[in-house]
Amino acid sequence: MRIEAQLTTERIVPPNISGLGPDGGIGALAEFSGVVRGEEDGRTITALEYEAYHGMALAVMRKLLEQLGQHHPCTGVWVIHRVGVVPVGEAAIWIGVAASHRREAFALLAEFMDQLKQDVPIWKRRALFAPATDTAAGPTP
C-alpha cells in the first residue's frame, strides 16, 4: 500500500488520486475533508490554530496507516494535515484512499480519523474570535 503523509501551513489542495493505478485495479476512491466550523464551545470563531510535533506526527500517521492497511487492504492513501491558523470553512485535514473495493476504503478512512484523534501529536492550539459585534456596530450615540 502506497502511503503519503504531509503537514502544510498552506491551504490544502487535494491531489488528484484518480490518476493512479494504470492497471485498472482501483474500484473505489474515498476522500474526506475535516473543515473548521464557525463555532467552538458555543462561541463564534473565525479560525483555529493547530500545532504539531512534526516528525512524530508524520511517523505516527504512517505507522497507523500501515497497520490499518493490514486489516483493510487498500492501494494507496494520502493524508495532508494543515498546521498554523486555519480559517473557518477551510480544511484542517484531507485524506484520500484508493482501493479495489469500497468497504476497505471506508473502513480505513473512518478508523484512521478515529485513531488520529487519539495518537497523532497534533493539537488544536487555540480558537481565534471575531471582534465583539457591538464594536463593529460603532459607539452608541
Partner: protein, 85 residues
C-alpha cells in the same frame, strides 16, 4: 562532547503554556526514568503537575513504554491529549 551528550525536552500545547518554553536541553544527563523526568520538570515548573496524569512521554518520536529508559542524546517530548483533524 558532541551536542548529543545532553537530552532535549520538547513541550507542546498546554505543556508549552505551563513552562513558557518550547524546548529545553539538559546537558550531561545520565539515564532517566519517566518518574525522574517528571520530578525534574515539576521542581522547575510546578504548573506541569496538573498535566502529568494525561500527558504521555515520547522518546525519539515514539510513545515511550512505562519502563522506558531515557538516555543522553534522546529527544524527549511531552504529549498532552491530542486534538488533530
Amino acid at each position: 562532547m558532541t551536542e548529543d551528550s545532553g537530552m532535549r525536552i520538547l513541550f507542546f500545547a498546554q505543556l508549552k503554556d505551563a513552562t513558557g518554553r518550547e524546548e529545553i536541553r539538559w546537558p550531561e544527563t545520565g539515564p532517566l526514568t519517566a518518574a525522574d523526568i517528571w520530578a525534574r520538570l515539576e521542581r522547575e515548573w510546578p504548573a506541569v503537575t496538573v498535566h502529568r496524569r494525561t500527558t504521555r512521554l515520547a522518546r525519539n518520536g515514539e510513545y515511550a513504554r512505562p519502563d522506558e529508559v531515557f538516555l543522553a542524546g534522546d529527544e524527549v517530548a511531552l504529549i498532552p491529549p491530542v486534538s488533530g483533524g
